[in-house]
Structure formats: C-alpha cells, structure tokens
C-alpha cells in the first residue's frame, strides 16, 4: 500500500524556523477491533527524521501512542529563506515516506 500524503510548512519567524509536518498514517495500537471484530495489527511510525540542508537536526523515536495522522511542530535555530527542510518517516512494517520544502 502506498503511503498517503504528507504536508509540510517551514516558516521563518524572528530568527526561528517553525517546521510543521503532517503525515497520513493509521497509527494502529494493535488493540482496536475492525467492524468484523478482528484485531487490527500494530502499525505505527517508529522514526521521524528532520534534516536542514541535508544535515540531521531532529531524530525522533515515537510509539503507537501518537495520534492517528501525526502532526508535529519542530523549531530550528536561525535558518534562512530558501533553506531546504526534509522530513522522512519509517514505520514498523518498513514502509517509508518523505517530503521536503524550502523555508518561507
């Protein structure tokens, strides 16, 4: 199954870059039952990485306790308009997705 869309915005505000990233993911806890009463298997993003101009600035480890369709905001020191921000994730099934944007 192809991963659903991601969306990201990186905005410079008074010397700080706010990076807000949205990810499509079910973040299944492994404890929820589907309409047929079957347990939906554990399926969640484990790692989220933020890079600034190719260099890793945030390494995140997350659990199934993060809400469905995760939304994170990170803050980077400085940054300039046009700087390249990349965010990627990998889940417990090895599925991945990534997106990139320029600081605005």
């Amino acid at each position: 199954m192809a991963a659903g869309p991601m969306k990201m915005r990186a905005t410079l505000n008074g010397g700080v870059t706010d990076v807000r990233v949205l990810m499509t993911h079910p973040m299944e806890t492994g404890q929820r039952k589907d309409p047929d009463g079957k347990l939906v298997p554990l399926h969640f993003i484990q790692n989220v990485t933020v890079k600034l101009n190719g260099r890793t600035v945030v390494e995140s480890q997350i659990s199934q306790g993060i809400s469905r369709n995760p939304v994170f905001t990170f803050r980077l020191k400085g940054g300039a308009k046009g700087d390249r921000i990349e965010v990627s994730w990998i889940d417990n099934h090895g599925e991945t997705n990534q997106t990139e944007t320029a600081v605005a």
């Binding site: 933020v50 809400s67 990627s88």
Partner: protein, 148 residues
C-alpha cells in the same frame, strides 16, 4: 489485475534498494523503553531513573481533553544544553510515547498529538549535560463527560 512475475521481482528488488538508506537512518528505536508497561520501567530504559524536577521545562497542554484520541502537548526546554526530550503518559498501556534527540540547529521544542486512554499525569523528561530533568502535568480526559 495480473502482475508479471518478472516485473514483480523487479519491483521487490527496487523496493529493497530504496529501503536500504532508510533502514540505516532508522537504527535507533528504544525497544525496551517503548515496550515498558510502567513509567518507572520506561524511565529506567531511558537511563533516566531519578530525574530532577525543573521549572525550566515547560508543558503547554489543556488541563481537560474532550477526547483522548487527540491530546495536544507542546514542550519547551529552557534547561541549558538540552539534547533530548521524552514524553511519557503514566496511565497509558505503554507510557513512553516519544523521544526526540536534537542536534545543533534544532531548538529543544516539540509539539505533538498523543493518545490518552484515561486521565493521567503527563511526564516530560529533558536530558542536558548527562543529567535528566522532569516536569509533570495532569490532563483530564472526559470522553463521555457528563453523559457517561
């Protein structure tokens, strides 16, 4: 739709090739910490057994959440030299929710949405200069509210 077997294996090879760099990138995931069923065990797995309470670690979150499916939590560490922030929800089946490592270039700040099964303390741990600091806030979850 029938898929040509040769094409299928080609797809598999390509997928494997594409996945490799990510596998390297995803090297760290604290299995013991995320698998811990109590906050105390999770803290041990993080090497943060006895964190010091700190007023420089700020939690911005509603005191009441109308729905435990999405509880917004914003964390700022003003502890100098903070290199990581971890979030634990004591009463969740697996309390450790996330851990963020910041390198030069990122501020020790994060905003996330967490799931909460019931009213619980939310515990935030910051790591700075090899020491651990903690701040706690209770969040009430009111699914059902007055009507049960």
């Amino acid at each position: 739709m029938r898929i040509n077997p040769i094409r299928r294996s080609l797809v598999a090879v390509l997928a494997a090739a594409c996945l490799k760099p990510f596998a390297a990138l995803a090297a760290t995931w604290n299995k013991d910490g995320f698998g811990a069923k109590t906050a105390a065990d999770a803290l041990k797995a993080l090497g943060a057994g006895n964190p010091l309470p700190s007023k420089d670690l700020l939690i911005e979150a509603p005191q009441i959440a109308e729905n435990g499916a999405v509880v917004p939590i914003e964390i700022t560490s003003n502890v100098p030299g903070t290199t990581s922030i971890a979030v634990l929800i004591d009463k969740n089946p697996f309390p450790l929710v996330a851990k963020f490592d910041f390198t030069a270039g990122a501020l020790p700040f994060v905003k996330l949405n967490a799931k909460m099964g019931e009213t619980s303390d939310v515990r935030v741990i910051a790591e700075a200069g090899g020491k651990h600091y903690v701040a706690t806030q209770e969040i009430k979850v009111t699914v059902g509210g007055c009507g049960g």
